[in-house]
């Protein structure tokens, strides 16, 4: 049984002082139900998650106590992707016809604070100032630039493109373009990455109504089919965050594994993809994820990005909604935002930021601590 997305909803990303994370999730859920032309009581199941805004299953108090099974999902940055995969499997199993996937969050300002003990690492690691995700991202791209000839200017261009796309997205947090030299010369957070090259913890909510593919046309004339959904964790030897040591011999990270599983599941290849949303926690991540997901060879990003090929209208449009850089990162919602944007693009409803030539296949990719990745392939 194939799976289709028949309803999509979003609560604008950014900062909404008057509204809790849960209320932002409910807002998105109501929109998704309306989009599919169904009601909450029609939902046979729910999967959802939030990292800092309470239990997702509390949504039933907002939307109605219908008795449906609602399962909380908690999987770091891959929470949204994991919820969607759970729903995908629930429908594929034949057990359910229709249900909801939802993710929302509301984080405090500033970088995420990590506790070494929770990760099984000694307190000395945090005391010495090593328990900091931004350092990992910087060290990964630092080595990558050295190995494959990626320039600092290319990192700035990734962020510039994100804010350019964000300026065309009414649901983005940062909707003003930022000049290239301002990005390059902003505060050096962790060499080679400056302030504007990092995303920030934020707020937002996304909901999707998913159903059996053979019933999709009942709800919409533009169903988007989930051709693949794959999730992988790290193997020994991949370079990951919060690692006091790592292997001498490197192996491919979880992104590479999840991507190849997803392509195999969907029976398509990277060249077939028309629009892609790739985890861009910072500029360097987008660069590396282009190759790790199979869209180019290592090092080719330099020429592709310099030529503008990852912009809307380019050969391989990446993060058409502005990505995490322009949207911020509400952990529970971030992976589902990518799916929401892909649905808009494949339906032809992305307005000012619509990718030309009727895109047919879309791709989403999340990556998070401590080394997990989820990929989906969507088709209209």
């Amino acid at each position: 049984m194939d799976v289709a997305i028949v309803g999509i909803g979003i609560h604008p990303f950014g900062r909404t002082p008057g509204r809790s994370g849960l209320q932002q999730g409910a807002y998105a859920a109501r929109q998704a139900l309306k989009d599919a032309g169904v009601e909450w009581k029609d939902m046979q199941f729910g999967f959802g998650g939030s990292a800092s805004a309470g239990s997702a299953d509390a949504l039933v108090n907002e939307l109605g106590l219908t008795g449906l099974p609602f399962i909380n999902v908690a999987n770091g940055c891959a929470t949204g992707g994991s919820s969607l995969i759970s729903a995908y499997n629930a429908i594929k199993s034949g057990e359910y016809d229709i249900g909801m996937v939802v993710g929302f969050d509301k984080h405090e300002r500033g970088a995420f604070n990590a506790d070494p003990k929770q990760m099984g690492i000694g307190e000395w690691y945090g005391e010495k100032g090593l328990m900091i995700t931004t350092q990992f991202f910087a060290m990964k791209i630092q080595r990558y630039m050295d190995m494959y000839g990626i320039s600092r200017d290319t990192l700035a261009k990734v962020a510039q493109k994100a804010f350019m796309n964000g300026s065309m997205n009414p649901n983005a947090w940062r909707r003003d373009e930022i000049p290239l030299d301002e990005i390059a010369n902003s505060f050096m957070v962790s060499d080679p990455l400056t302030k504007y090259m990092f995303c920030a913890p934020g707020e937002g909510g996304i909901a999707l109504v998913v159903c059996r593919a053979d019933k999709a046309k009942q709800y919409t004339d533009k169903p988007i089919y989930l051709k693949a959904a794959a999730f992988r964790s790290r193997r020994f030897g991949s370079f990951e965050v919060f690692a006091p040591s790592q292997a001498l011999q490197q192996v491919d990270g979880p992104t590479v594994d999840a991507a190849s599983a997803a392509f195999e599941m969907a029976g398509v290849g990277p060249k077939d993809i028309d629009v892609m949303q790739l985890q861009d926690t910072e500029s360097g991540a987008e660069v590396m994820h282009m190759a790790e997901n199979g869209f180019c060879e290592h090092g080719e990003q330099e020429a592709l990005i310099q030529a503008g090929e990852t912009r809307i209208g380019g050969k391989m449009p990446v993060n058409t909604d502005g990505g995490c850089l322009a949207s911020g990162e509400p952990i529970g919602a971030t992976g589902l935002r990518q799916v929401y944007e892909t649905c808009l693009q494949l339906r032809g409803n992305a307005e000012a930021r619509q990718v030309p030539n009727d895109p047919r296949l879309g791709y989403t990719h999340v990556y998070g601590a401590p080394g997990i990745s989820a990929v989906t392939i969507l088709q209209r």
Binding site: G126, F187, P192, F236
Partner: protein, 141 residues
């Protein structure tokens, strides 16, 4: 009289005139890890033994921490006296890549592949004035 106290037990040989980092080595598959663990991260075997890691290695990658970290960061610094610090992975031959603070803290002084050496010394002071001893790497002479 102030004492010298290691930042954590078992991270490096202590007391010692010439300390070394302490790792564990799997007797089944040969993989080394730092700090010491009770099992092997590659194969899960519990047949691991402690060993001293090499004191020199090559810089594998690096960055510079530009802002003063929030808790759990603990140092003698204040926001006024904080200075950016280097962080990197040093590839210890035949053993493992170890993450460490670096004594160098400018992009000009750091290059992937450069030779680094271990330094064990005072990292901060506790409330009683004791010296808390930690490890770092610096460019080798």
């Amino acid at each position: 009289m102030s004492k010298k106290i290691p930042i954590a037990e078992g991270l490096f040989t202590w007391p010692s005139d010439n300390p070394a980092l302490l790792g564990s080595r799997c007797q089944e598959c040969g993989i080394a890890e730092f700090p010491r663990k009770l099992s092997c991260p590659a194969c899960g075997s519990e047949n691991v033994v402690s060993e001293e890691l090499p004191r020199r290695g090559k810089l594998w990658t690096w960055t510079i921490q530009g802002f003063m970290p929030k808790k759990p960061y603990l140092s003698d610094e204040t926001p006024e006296t904080f200075r950016p610090f280097g962080v990197g992975y040093v590839e210890l031959p035949g053993a493992v890549c170890v993450e460490s603070r670096l004594l160098e803290n400018t992009a000009e002084d750091l290059k992937i592949g450069m030779e680094m050496e271990l330094v064990v010394g005072t990292y901060r002071h506790d409330e009683e004035g004791n010296e808390i001893v930690g490890f770092a790497f610096k460019a080798a002479n």
